[in-house]
């Protein structure tokens, strides 16, 4: 075999480990789940083709689907802006060039490492429960706290708080973005006599939009997919009164509680389409508000 004919083969050989993983563990199951979404499948007997029935039922005859959709949207709409604002605020404070920046950065990043874990979700229950830490502190001030987790009015908010608390990774990215803004832009503005506020809104924020955009898309996708906290905090019920029934949690219940794999696959694909539509929308509108330097 000539050298020229041999070399592409060698290339594919090197590609193989990744290719096997991608086809076997990502693309294969993805396509299979698309197929399953058109079937009725309980894991015990083979899938039965039902056409669009799962999707029709989702949108026309499933109150829980709409309830879970509502919970997830409220969660996304509340947690993403709060988390990003918080991350940006802390990043700006750290960017002022305080002593021991690496230490603070590590400390503030810590919740992001821990946040998605089961242990933290359990900790959250301890903090926000009827006899939790939060109420103990409030009691010191003579305030009788609610049972935050078991009151449907507040339960979702405790999960929003948990999400916002994990502001570390967008914060790190904001910090890097702030460092990218050339100091002479600020110097030019300060020679013009611009106030801090004016500099922030007219220089910093616009120049940070590529990073804001990135964080916004990533965090929104993450928020749509949020699962662990709701699962642990409500013991997998989505309660009280479906107030923390995240879309992913409902999907999980259908798949592994009721063994309706076909229906759960349809739920998963609807979420995928929602996320894809949102992302496409974000990219389409980005050219009106995201400023790229070059």
């Amino acid at each position: 075999m000539s050298h020229a004919a041999r070399s592409p083969l060698a290339g594919y050989m090197f590609l193989l480990p990744w290719l096997i993983g991608f086809l076997g563990l990502t693309l294969g199951p993805t396509l299979y789940s698309l197929y399953l979404s058109f079937t009725s499948y309980n894991l015990l007997s083979p899938p039965v083709w039902v056409g669009l029935e799962n999707y029709v039922r989702l949108f026309t005859a499933d109150a829980k689907f709409w309830a879970s959709m509502r919970v997830t949207f409220v969660f996304v709409i509340l947690s993403v802006p709060l988390k990003l604002s918080f991350a940006l605020a802390i990043a700006i404070l750290l960017d002022r060039g305080i002593r021991g920046l690496p230490v603070y950065r590590a400390i503030f990043y810590l919740p992001s490492l821990l946040g998605g874990s089961v242990a933290i979700a359990i900790l959250w229950r301890q903090i926000f429960g009827r006899n939790g830490v939060l109420n103990l502190v409030l009691a010191q001030f003579g305030i009788e706290g609610a049972s935050w987790i078991s009151d449907p009015r507040y339960s979702l908010l405790t999960l929003v708080a948990l999400a916002v608390w994990q502001f570390g990774s967008p914060m790190i990215i904001f910090l890097a973005g702030l460092r990218q803004i050339p100091t002479d832009m600020y110097e030019a503005a300060s020679m013009d006599g611009a106030s801090r506020r004016r500099i922030f809104f007219l220089i910093t924020l616009p120049l940070l939009t590529p990073v804001i955009f990135f964080n916004f898309v990533i965090q929104t996708i993450d928020a749509f997919k949020a699962f662990t906290p709701a699962f642990i905090v409500s013991n997998g019920t989505g309660g009280p009164a479906n107030s923390t029934l995240f879309y992913t949690l409902y999907l999980y219940q259908e798949a592994f509680g009721n063994f309706r794999m076909g229906y759960a696959a349809a739920l998963a694909w609807v979420l995928l389409v929602i996320i894809a539509l949102f992302t496409a929308f974000a990219f389409l509108t980005s050219r009106f508000w995201v400023h790229y330097d070059e």
Partner: protein, 353 residues
């Protein structure tokens, strides 16, 4: 225009010092700048010229000394109160704003009336010939156009003092020459005092009324371009001003007959363009030519002195037929000799200051 009293200076620096922690960077600079003049700070990188400019601008705190602008001490005044506009090396244009917004930003910050802003912007745009570009973003502009916008942003503020921090260093050679002329024209038209920082002695020589040569945080010499060229006060200025640089010969490198004439002199400086082929007041012997550069208008020879083999550069006018390996007798007129003592300071004689 002659304004002899120091109080009439547009800018006056008295014993200005700058340290970062315990490390002194600028060692007591005294300088008076006449209104309307074009002053160039020139020096090698790290000489403190940009730091000095930034202290004048108010971007860098002054450790000690006095900064007086138009008779007012301004050490602590914030940058925006000093009546100064600065053109940055990177231009520092706001990438998310179009040219008009870039030009008007400072005026809007100062809460000027819309009509006046529009008038000032259009006047500046006209001066700089960037009127068709007002709605473009900086990324849609060429390097030269960005440079103009950066200057425009300074012009609209109608400052009493312009500062330029190596403004041409990001442009290609051809554009640099063109912008040099334009900035000089701009200075003539506006008549405002300008301070210009560069490491390029050609820019300094071509643009300045007054050059301040800085080295290691000290002023080596201040004077008009020709003063510096004709009467460099020390070896540093002698070598820094002029291209190709001045030949500096230790007297020990010269043949005995010549060295004997200059007993008190430690080194002799001769500019390449003052060396002549053939007989002259002071003959330096026949050099061995190593490299010949034909530039068309001049021919530059690099060679070695006889005996000491000390390197020498000779610029001969016109196109001279000579090959590497040849020998050429060279000499210099006595009036074109620069003499320096052991400490590198100029030795004044009757002919030269």
């Amino acid at each position: 225009m002659t304004l002899p009293t120091s109080s009439a200076a547009a800018l006056e620096l008295t014993n200005i010092c700058k340290s970062y922690g315990d490390v002194p960077i600028i060692h007591g600079i005294d300088l008076a700048i006449k209104p309307g003049s074009f002053v160039v700070f020139v020096g090698p990188s790290g000489c403190g010229k940009s730091t000095l400019l930034r202290m004048i601008a108010g971007l860098e705190p002054i450790t000690s000394g006095d900064l007086v602008i138009d008779g007012q001490r301004m050490n602590e005044a914030p940058a925006s109160r000093r009546g100064i506009a600065m053109v940055f090396q990177s231009y520092a244009l706001y990438p998310h704003m179009d040219v008009y917004q870039n030009l008007s930003f400072g005026l809007e910050t100062a809460k000027m009336r819309k009509a006046e802003i529009a008038e000032r912007v259009s006047r500046a745009a006209k001066i700089l010939k960037i009127e068709p570009l007002l709605r473009r973003k900086p990324r849609q502009l060429s390097g030269g156009q960005r440079q103009r916008v950066a200057i425009g942003r300074a012009i609209v503020r109608e400052p009493r003092l312009f500062l330029f921090d190596e403004p041409l260093s990001n442009l290609d050679a051809e554009l640099r020459v063109q912008m040099r002329v334009e900035i000089s024209n701009l200075h003539r038209d506006l008549g405002t005092t300008m301070i210009y920082v560069t490491h390029d002695q050609v820019e300094a020589m071509t643009m300045a009324d007054q050059i301040v040569v800085l080295n290691g945080g000290r002023v080596e010499q201040t004077g008009s371009p020709l003063d510096l060229y004709n009467y460099p006060r020390n070896l540093f200025v002698a070598a820094f001003i002029g291209s190709p640089r001045m030949n500096i010969f230790p007297t020990s490198a010269l043949s005995e007959g010549i060295a004997g004439d200059f007993a008190t002199t430690h080194s002799l400086g001769v500019r390449p363009e003052h060396l002549v082929a053939g007989p002259a007041d002071v003959g330096l012997g026949s050099i061995a030519v190593e490299v010949v550069e034909h530039l068309g208008d001049v021919t530059i020879l690099h060679g070695r002195l006889p005996n000491s083999h000390h390197g020498v550069t000779v610029t001969l006018s016109g196109q001279v037929e000579i090959k590497p390996g040849a020998t050429l007798p060279i000499g210099v007129s006595r009036s074109n000799l620069h003499r320096f003592d052991r400490g590198g300071l100029r030795i004044n004689d009757g002919a030269k200051l």
